[in-house]
Symmetry: C2
Subunit: 201 residues, 2 copies
């Protein structure tokens, strides 16, 4: 037997190399060759993990989702349900290097997914999961009595919160990198304050 490879670990290494290429060189440079070089592999070796470029892009996008989800699930509950909700939502904003990488990959793949039937399901899944997460955050506030259930359409409010968070994230990506996210955090906080029945209105 030759040197054995941990395929799961290898896939992650390659995906992270793809992230770096995407961040450093842009969406037009995510070629199999460039990613392989960044990962220190020959293209033939990379093709053992990812036989096609699409499979590489899909996995790279899915890894973004897994990382974000794991980070949110690992959060300690805050002093109040409201504080917990805000902390979770902040994980969806590019407020440090790791989250910025994830957001840029998510954003770039969104552009590709619009015309790639291979990439679309993975992208739609991220949208659906993030939407579901927003819904859960709101439900928790509801149960904690921080919101008024009667005047709140949960479907619509989840979509609204999701849109606000993604919009803030998008603008933070383009903003000058010295933005520490204080403004975005305040906007998010104000938004929650203004939901009907908010105990902090």
């Amino acid at each position: 037997m030759p040197k054995l490879i941990d395929h799961d670990a290898r896939e992650i290494e390659v995906a992270e190399a793809a992230w770096r290429v995407l961040l450093r060189d842009g969406i037009t440079k995510i070629s199999v060759r460039n990613v392989a070089a960044e990962a220190g592999l020959a293209t033939g070796s990379l093709r053992r993990s990812f036989p096609t470029q699409d499979s590489l892009l899909i996995f790279s996008l899915q890894l973004v989702q897994r990382r974000a989800r794991d980070r949110i699930l690992a959060l300690e509950p805050g002093p109040t349900p409201r504080a917990t909700a805000e902390a979770c939502l902040m994980q969806l904003l590019p407020l440090d290097a790791d989250r910025r990488v994830e957001m840029e990959v998510y954003h770039a793949m969104g552009s590709l997914a619009l015309t790639s039937s291979a990439l679309r399901p993975a992208y739609d899944q991220i949208l659906a999961d993030t939407r579901a997460a927003c819904r859960v955050f709101l439900e928790r506030l509801l149960r904690a009595g921080d919101l008024d259930a009667a005047s709140l359409d949960l479907d619509r409010e989840s979509a609204a919160l999701h849109a606000l968070v993604d919009g803030l994230a998008l603008h933070l990506l383009a903003a000058d990198p010295h933005d520490d996210g204080t403004h975005a955090a305040r906007i998010l906080s104000d938004y929650l304050d203004r939901l009907p029945g908010s105990t902090r209105a």
Copy 2:
């Protein structure tokens, strides 16, 4: 003298061809060759209007901005300041074929601009102008007495409204095309209702 060309009109024709390629074939296919073919030109002819690919992309993005701005400026005032504001904001959502094209181009160029120093200024300009427009919409509501000036930070509220609109637009792009935007319109309306001092709260 040979056949004379209206260069301004030609630039627009080429840019719209670039839009079509981008929409139909995706961000990876906006090559000089593909755009020239879509416009019915030889690449050499296209290079007379746009000597480099960057100049073509920049103009195509700027044309998006001009179209959206012109459409908003051409709007008739609605029955109330609030109705006028909503109508303006709707122009920034992909609610028909034309606006969808503009939004997809805007979105795609955003991905490219993150690593293209040539494209960045044009993209940043769109962001700044849209932000300024959001601010104007809010100022009008303020002057009409529909909002409470004291408890409203205009900078922050402009950024928040901008983020919400761009987030809604982003999700409408990915949503199934049968979405007529009713949900997005309602979300936008609710958001304005909840601004401090709103007369429709």
